[in-house]
Symmetry: C2
Subunit: 271 residues, 2 copies
């Protein structure tokens, strides 16, 4: 039985860990009136290197946790889940609309490209699923998509090596994939990657549009809430309500790195 | 009720993921007659960055899975569990003896050092627990222990960047911690690190003994089975029986990197 939603209902956002905080930040910037419930599955992070069966099970668990808070909308901030288990999320949350970062990012890339040649970077699982290429081609059948998994970008971002020569070396090696491909647009297909946006941008050069899917999600969220008359107009700014399945020592340091502010209270939930 | 053990009973080994395969390899080399059951909790890896509460829960689960196979000995190949939850393992397996990599590695380091100045590297959780320093000092109260967490070594090893300039840069930065400390011994306090042993050795220089705790565990296992009359004499060589909680795509590549041979059949277990 789906719950009743109102403009005051919260927006539910989940991710395999804390990378989705880049989406929280983008939503707060674009829609400061909205209440946000964020769940990060920090006890089972990362999803990227795991199998599809396991990722689908975790996606159902994560959605069920957010549904306890009767959200008006669910945002899948995890690219891996968006690629491999969006149907599981939609099934678990009934008639509540779902936005996945993947489709939002793919849509913005198709709008941005002028030569229909698009690069995508992400985790191993996201890239192997080929979901970005499929989604981009469903929106623009003429688009050519070039992909590259960049597994070290997440640990490098979490270590805060946002301007380190080792990060530059690894970025150069990963992004060399796109040399000679003549792409004009590059999708950051993992929510951690905006943290490394500067190094990535400098490595590929200023001629290439960088698509941050967190910003794309925020745009799509505004459109969807507006269309359905569910934009919150009450203007009571609040901190996001944070749920995590584990509270590791480094959490507050990483929260600060992602959000640019001190960690508020967090609630521990069992998975 | 503890089960009956015989020399033919298997040795149970577990780790948070696949790093513990370096221990499997060391045991196979030292004790080729022994049957080995290995469980890697690949659905919930890594343990290193998670909280103590979560790590202790996972340790109990992992031990219970191995106990189904009625082992004569349990080896905790995970440094994080050895540091934070060895008592949980001992409680879960009743009278079956338990060997943790941490104590084995600490013991070998104390034997190897000549000036009682020992360096330890490991994951964030292992280093923050201070367990190596406490264990080394319980064996040699005069020893001085210097520690450094090296969180990027695990993803770099898993990416196979065993001889990459970025790995060298990061190793230099991490291991610079020991400059001027006059250590003569360095403990690889994480089962992944033997994969990067060459770069680590070249970075600290040839004067420093490198302690591989997988080798230390194999030595301790031989002693303990010998003392208790439980060495297997039947000489029927077999592949290790592999259990995992998830079977990710990269598993066979990483198995080969760690074991130097093709992946045998693996069994999926639920956690």
């Amino acid at each position: 039985m789906p719950h009743k939603v109102t403009p005051e209902s919260p927006i539910g956002i989940f991710d395999s860990g804390i990378g989705g905080l880049t989406v929280v930040r983008a939503i707060q910037a674009a829609l400061p009136e909205e209440k946000i419930i964020y769940f990060g599955d920090t006890a089972r992070v990362p999803y990227g290197p795991k199998s599809q069966v396991t990722i689908r099970k975790y996606a159902a668990d994560d959605t069920a946790i957010l549904m306890r808070y009767q959200p008006k909308l669910i945002i899948v901030a995890c690219n891996t889940v968006s690629a491999l288990a969006l149907d599981v999320v939609e099934k678990t949350c009934g008639s509540i609309p779902v936005i996945g970062v993947l489709k939002a990012g793919a849509g913005l890339a198709v709008e941005a490209t002028e030569n229909s040649r698009i690069g995508v970077i992400g985790t191993q699982a996201t890239i192997c699923s080929n979901a970005y290429a499929v989604t981009i081609n469903s929106l623009n059948p003429d688009a050519e998509v070039f992909s590259r998994a960049c597994p070290l970008f997440v640990p490098l971002a979490e270590e805060g090596l946002v301007d380190h020569p080792a990060t530059r070396l690894i970025a150069r090696e990963y992004l060399d994939e796109f040399a000679g491909k003549d792409i004009d647009t590059l999708v950051l297909g993992c929510t951690h990657y905006p943290i490394l946006r500067r190094i990535i941008g400098e490595t590929v050069g200023p001629a290439i549009h960088i698509i941050d899917s967190a910003e794309a999600v925020a745009r799509r969220t505004r459109e969807l809430l507006d269309e359905s008359g569910l934009l919150n107009k009450t203007r009571e700014q609040a901190l996001p309500h944070l749920l995590v399945s584990d509270l590791p020592q480094k959490f507050s340091r990483i929260y600060k790195l992602f959000m640019g502010s001190e960690l508020p209270d967090v609630e521990l939930v069992e998975v």
